[in-house]
């Protein structure tokens, strides 16, 4: 794997299971054991009822594009070789939203409400990123 020069996440103790899940090709989100609500991004305790009892469940990995933008210029230096690239907010079937990139799709063809599903992209030995591609 060649050297990766773009910014990497700095996981917290409570977000590490998410990144470990990605390495194992699983998209994990939290669920509050007390109020049953789904939670993303990972939290130390439930933001709805403050219960510290959270479990991890595997999301279906399917969702819709809530919004997106195609970046052409003035991107952070590390992403200069990637333009144009698509940054999107994806609403998962579980109702939580996450930011990621849309891949395997021409940027011009991306639309709001498009059905997408997760794919996993190995970035470094430590990190695998969840990205999304259109459901064909």
């Amino acid at each position: 794997m060649k050297e990766y020069k773009k910014p990497l996440p700095k996981p917290t103790p409570w977000s590490k299971p998410f990144w470990d899940g990605c390495k194992n090709r699983k998209l994990l989100i939290q669920q509050c054991i007390s109020c049953k609500k789904y939670i993303f991004y990972p939290k130390l305790f439930c933001p709805f009822c403050l219960s510290p009892d959270l479990s991890w469940i595997e999301a279906t990995g399917k969702g819709k594009i809530y919004t997106y933008t195609v970046v052409y210029a003035y991107q952070p230096t590390e992403f200069s070789a990637d333009v144009p690239y698509v940054v999107a907010v994806i609403e998962l079937e579980e109702g939580v939203k996450m930011m990621s990139n849309i891949v395997d799709c021409k940027p011009d063809n991306v639309r709001c409400d498009m059905d997408v599903e997760v794919i996993f992209e190995d970035i470094t030995e430590e990190f695998t990123f969840p990205k999304f591609k259109p459901v064909i």
Binding site: K6, P7, L8, P9, K10, P11, T12, S15, Y41, Y66, T67, Y68, T69, V70, V71, Y72, A73, Y74, Q75, P76, T77, F79, D82, Y85, V87, V89, K97, M98, M99, S100, N101, R111, C112, D113, F129
Partner: protein, 394 residues
């Protein structure tokens, strides 16, 4: 709510021109704005008991100096000033400084407050600023790794808004047309050349749907205003400007976590502010709305109930917000016209609202303006603030 109403007044303003001034230190922007505001108010400077310098991004050393009472020393208030502390919420520092000042004055904890802002993002190297702003309000674990950056924030709001309302790129671009028309009348503005919709849309694409002409341009600048009691304002020279209502909602830290990027918190914020002020959208003479990107004035016009859902684009496109239009909007030219001086972009919009109500806006003065609304947003457009100001005692 609204106990301050009728008890608090803004009595003086100061501002240095926005632009790229590499040789003008941050401190100079602040000092000149302070001096102008003090002289403008006619208040004896030793009456200032509280200084609230908002934050600065570019010059960390200067920012620390502000926190640690540099201005108290520079203004000769050693041993006289009671307080010097920072109120900082990025772009919404304007509304939050004024809100804080109202509370302090009304409670009797302060008599005369000087609020000031200065920054130098315009003379910094462009790529350095992009990389710095890339980190502001963008979660490093959940958004930065995907190449998201502050310059693409408004694009996410706009894409969804266009999808839900059918608003066109031409209508969004017309917000810039409006800003530039006002900036052309503002000697403190950085971008004073008028632009056509075609020029705006033909410019280099940054992050769809916005081109370089639809993104704010970073600038150096500074502004200040003085807040005191209505009682103290009585024998000062300026027409006092009275805060009448505040409303606000914080809707995200991470832009990806906002519940509705096409509305933000402006409907709730407006409702709250209208109730406090005892007025409605029909009473507003000037809308000094925070821009940053063309999408935000549209969302704000709708939240304020001035336009129906999805109608704000056509309202601006038809020229209603231009000089001479039905509802003059962001009459200093906003960040898209006056320039984006970091937190000062919002402070400049607030100072303009005060300036208009004082009747001191020169060539761009809106005649007989009695009520102005000011809006602001900080971070990645995290919080929606509405402030209603008037020149008559409630």
């Amino acid at each position: 709510m609204g106990l301050f109403k009728g008890k608090v007044a803004v009595v003086g303003i100061g501002e240095v021109p926005s632009g790229k001034f590499p040789d003008r230190p941050c401190l100079q922007n602040a000092l000149e704005a302070c001096r102008e505001a003090i002289l403008d108010s006619g208040i004896e400077k030793n009456e200032i008991d509280t200084i609230i310098p908002t934050g600065t991004f570019f010059d960390r050393r200067y920012n620390t100096d502000m926190i640690f009472s540099k201005l108290v020393e520079e203004l000769g208030l050693l041993g006289k000033a009671h307080n010097n502390f920072q109120v900082f919420a990025g772009g919404s520092s304007s509304s939050t400084m004024l809100k804080t000042a109202c509370g302090l004055i009304n409670s009797g904890l302060a008599e005369v407050i000087l609020c000031v802002q200065s920054d130098k993002t315009g003379s910094a190297p462009v790529q350095e600023m992009i990389d710095l702003f890339a980190t502001f309000g963008v979660p490093d674990e959940w958004e930065t790794p995907y190449g998201f950056f502050m310059g693409a924030t408004g694009s996410l709001n706009a894409t969804r808004y266009m999808h839900e309302t059918g608003t066109t790129p031409e209508q969004l671009a017309s917000v810039v047309v409006s800003m530039r028309k006002w900036a052309a009348l503002n000697p403190n503005a950085m971008l004073r050349r008028e632009l056509s919709v075609k020029e705006i849309l033909d410019a280099k694409m940054v992050a769809t749907p916005f081109t370089t002409k639809e993104g704010n341009v970073l600038a150096d600048g500074g502004a200040a205003f003085i807040v005191t009691s209505t009682e103290r304002a009585k024998d000062l020279r300026n027409q006092p400007v009275y805060p009448l209502g505040f409303g606000s909602r914080v809707c995200h830290y991470s832009i990806s976590q906002d519940m509705d990027l096409t509305r933000l918190g402006f409907s709730e914020a407006s409702q709250e502010a209208y109730e406090m002020a005892g007025i409605g959208p029909e009473d507003i003479d000037i809308a000094e709305l925070y821009d940053g990107y063309p999408i935000f004035p549209l969302i704000t016009l709708e939240g304020l109930g001035i336009c129906g859902r999805g109608e704000a684009g056509a309202f601006v496109y038809e020229g209603n917000t231009w000089p001479g239009g039905k509802l003059p909007m962001t009459t200093n030219g906003g960040m898209l016209g006056q320039g984006h001086t970091a937190a000062g972009g919002g402070v400049a919009v607030l100072v303009e609202a005060i300036r208009q109500l004082m009747g001191k806006a020169g060539e761009r003065q809106v005649k007989d303006a009695k009520i102005a609304v000011e809006s602001s947003l900080g971070g990645t457009f995290m919080d929606s603030h509405i402030v209603i100001l008037g020149r008559e005692l409630p």
